[in-house]
């Protein structure tokens, strides 16, 4: 008779099988993830959760019999006698409960962890031009002082700390100082009385012996400087959120933009240890604000896109050295811009902004179901399109429905074939 406690055995024995299942169901799950993510809020989506995949693709077939005449024995007869007939439709309960009736496993609900979910969602996405800065992928380790230790290499001996400890020990153990001995020797030399001299000599012997017993430096005193390696995140990115907040931007449009930014943030978070966000909102002048103000603060005025670009340029110059930071920018706008501003905007983009950016996405947001949206291209759109045709690394999309955000995002960050899309350096 054995009684065994297995509770501490490593759990998750099914993990491997679960992963195999996921791998196999990947395309199905991926489809389901995309579908689910369109229906839900981004925040909820990134919490992971349940997706439903059709069981069909994962079905394990068996030979099954169906139809034909059926016989069944049931319990609980109350009123029937031999030869009675039961109506098929009316007496549903009797019919449905026959043996061998298929159990309705039509769709399969599957709970994904947050990581699994995001992984699947972002699976075929790739940051454009990631290779441009190789440093972004390697992580360097910095070295940092971290106190003292009792062991180490001789090169790291801390002399001052060692001596200090030695001194403390000598004092504590009452090691006679050099002066004490010299004083005594002087006293002996000056001494005339033999008896006293013997006493003094004995004292001197004692002191000398003590000096020998208590060394000047004991191995116990030695201290080494300790160093610790700390991972130094060089893989860092900054994300600029540029948004036109002039009166023409409706709540719906801001909501679209917000969704896009959040996705971008989650996406960058996956790739970088550290992601900074800079929110720049602009009317005819631009300012850096916090998130709350960015999305909810009231503002109004004319529209000068160049002001935002100028602000971004300055912030980059001040705080984000392009050699240390991977810079991403996403601009959301309804596309209105002052006519006179076009040229300046174009210049800023080509000269200042695009050369330091890994990626610049322009998202033109429209009203839900907006019909006017499709009519003609906005002034900003026309401008950007011209730049892009000129070879600038710009990505641009139009969005007017919530459900389009994910596909558009996906589209923008689709893993690219290196051959294609490498037109301009």
């Amino acid at each position: 008779m054995h009684i065994i406690d297995r509770r501490l055995n490593p759990g998750g024995k099914s993990l491997e099988n679960r992963q195999r299942f996921l791998r196999r169901a990947k395309s199905l799950v991926q489809g389901a993830v995309k579908k689910t993510s369109q229906e839900r809020d981004i925040k909820d989506v990134l919490e992971g959760g349940e997706v439903t995949i059709p069981l069909d693709g994962m079905h394990e077939p068996r030979f099954r019999r169906e139809g034909g005449t059926r016989d069944m024995v049931l319990p609980g007869n109350k009123k029937f006698i031999e030869g009675d007939y039961l109506q098929r439709s009316g007496q549903g309960s009797a019919k449905n409960s026959g043996p061998g009736e298929g159990d309705g496993e039509d769709a399969f609900r599957f709970v994904l962890s947050r990581d699994e979910f995001v992984d699947l969602f972002l699976d075929d996405l790739e940051l454009p031009d990631l290779a441009k800065r190789k440093v972004a992928q390697t992580e360097s380790e910095g070295i940092q002082r971290a106190g003292y230790t009792t062991s180490g290499s001789p090169a790291n001996i801390s002399v001052s700390r060692t001596v200090r400890r030695a001194l403390a020990r000598r004092i504590a153990l009452k090691r006679p100082s050099k002066e004490e001995i010299e004083e005594l020797e002087a006293a002996i030399a000056a001494c005339t009385d033999d008896d006293e001299r013997v006493v003094l000599l004995a004292q001197l012997e004692k002191l000398k012996a003590k000096t020998k017993r208590i060394p000047f430096i004991d191995p116990l005193d030695i201290r080494y400087r300790r160093f610790e390696t700390v991972p130094k995140p060089v893989a860092q990115a900054v994300m600029f959120c540029l948004m036109d907040v002039s009166g023409s931007m409706s709540e719906h449009m801001k909501d679209l933009a917000k969704r896009f930014y959040m996705l971008l943030y989650v996406f960058l978070k996956r790739r970088y240890k550290h992601v900074d966000i800079v929110f720049i909102r602009h009317t005819d002048r631009a300012e850096e604000v916090d998130e709350q103000t960015f999305f909810y603060g009231p503002a109004s005025g004319g529209t000068l896109v160049s002001s935002a670009l100028q602000a971004m340029h300055e912030i980059v110059r001040e705080r984000f050295n392009p050699s240390d930071w991977n810079i991403y920018a996403a601009q959301a706008s309804d596309g209105d811009n002052s006519y006179s501003d076009g040229e300046l905007t174009g210049l800023l983009l080509t000269d200042k902004i695009l050369p330091v950016c890994q990626f610049f996405a322009y998202l033109e947001v429209g009203e839900s179901g907006g019909s006017a949206f499709d009519l003609s291209d906005s002034s900003l759109w026309t401008l950007y399109e011209r730049l892009r045709n000129g070879g600038a690394p710009l990505s641009m999309r139009k969005v007017s429905e919530r459900s389009e955000i994910f596909p558009v995002f996906h589209d923008l960050f689709q893993r690219r074939d290196t051959a294609q899309e490498k037109a301009a350096p």
Binding site: M1, H2, I3, I4, D5, R6, R7, G11, K13, S14, E16, N17, R18, R20, F21, L22, R23, R24, A25, E50, H59, E60, P61, R62, F63, R64, R65, E66, G67, G68, T69, R70, D71, M72, V73, L74, P75, G76, N77, F80, I81, E82, G83, D84, Y85, L86, Q87, R88, Q91, S93, A94, K95, S97, G98, P99, G100, F108, R109, F110, V111
Partner: protein, 511 residues
Amino acid sequence: MTERLFEGADWDFHTLQRITDACETVAMKDLGLDVYPNQIEVITAEQMLDAYSSVGMPLFYKHWSFGKQFAYHEASYRKGLMGLAYEIVINSSPCISYLMEENTATMQTLVIAHAAFGHNHFFKNNYLFKQWTDADGILDYLDFAKNYVMQCEERYGRIEVERTLDAAHALMSHGIDRYPGKKKLDLREEEKRAGRRRQHEEEVFNDLWRTVPKGASKTRSAISLERRRKLLGLPQENLLYFLEKSAPRLAPWQRELLRIVRHIAQYFYPQSQTKVMNEGTATYVHYRIMTQLHQQGRISDGNFLEFLGSHTNVVFQPEFDDPRFSGFNPYALGFAMMQDIERIVTSPSDEDREWFPDIAGKNDVMGVLRDVWANYRDESFIAQFLSPKLMRQLRMFHLHDDPEERAGIRVDAIHDERGFRRVRRELARQHDVGYIDANIEVVDVDLSGDRRLILHHHVIKGAQLNETDTKRVLQHLADLWTYDVSLIEVDANDKVLREYVVSPRPITAAA
């Protein structure tokens, strides 16, 4: 008054030991049970879910379908759609019973009595298990299977192995020998033989043989049809066995995988034939043990009431018009029949004397029951021991549903003098796996022609195969056979009802 085994709901490992000892005394002395050595393991809910998804076995080879099972169980468990079983018990020696840590002390007692003594006795003594399973060898064999599958994955690639296993799983229900063969399965020996087979294949492998030109094939009519069928062992209902032995282009490791799946299917075959008896036995045993312990004063009245609550839930049988009804509950039917046998043996009525002259009034309850447990399976058990009294008590009736019949579903027999035997026969049939599973067999291979494999499905009572599933299974079959496969559905008069023909999918680069 003897000392209580425990107070309240808490337990620790000393309590478990005391409980097991007390149960063992009752089981051995009063009930005369004969069991494998017991091994009791306490596990968590998560581990229970793990165990669920590998058909209750402590170790199993890796396959995605177990992951699917796990995800499925986990999702329904989280949503509260499904409670976990109190226990899982494995037919092995030692007999392993898993107990959940969440169980109260009363529940642990119930579970130990149920699994470690009830099921254990049944496993060790029932003729089907004796015939078909090797309790000593199963764990080692599963360990071997797990490692073998892993090695194959390393050597031949995960995808290839998965494809073979998928196909084998699809045919698993038809990978069983339904009638005892020459000898009992000895899994340990089997494992050794598998090792030797592989070694031999490796030793004698000579790449030159591949290049030796093949001689002219024998004349087509040289082998007569009868002889050919005999050589191939046809007709053959064990499809996996047939493929393993005769499929022309399988690699040795693929044959070994088929053999593994076949052995495992065979191991579980007795369980599917004895659900009512197995659960009935375990339930009867735990009921006797618990009652005994209570009478001895080793379980308090409160704890005994808690036990009765669980017990009543387990043996609850909803009636057919109850929304909770989903067929006969094997626990309820099995337990009711065991108790009924006890009644017939101890205080039979005239009716019982007439129906069961062999056991009525024999007074040796345990002797009779032990004999029943050893020598019957569900179908024969019901056919033999379902009494008129129980049929009346459960108000059983027999429905006949003929889709052609316009008037509806006919009540063919009820629990009356005229109906008893018919109801009993029909219920027994419902528990006959040979009757529930489709009757499919390989009847011929056109070896001299296009090597098409021909199978027959003998349709009973007009129940044909589900079309989509059948096509898929046949696809797997054809992939293993590597030539066309045709399945013909024939009725009792050999009239062809339907024919499926499936061609194998082209094999990818690996060969």
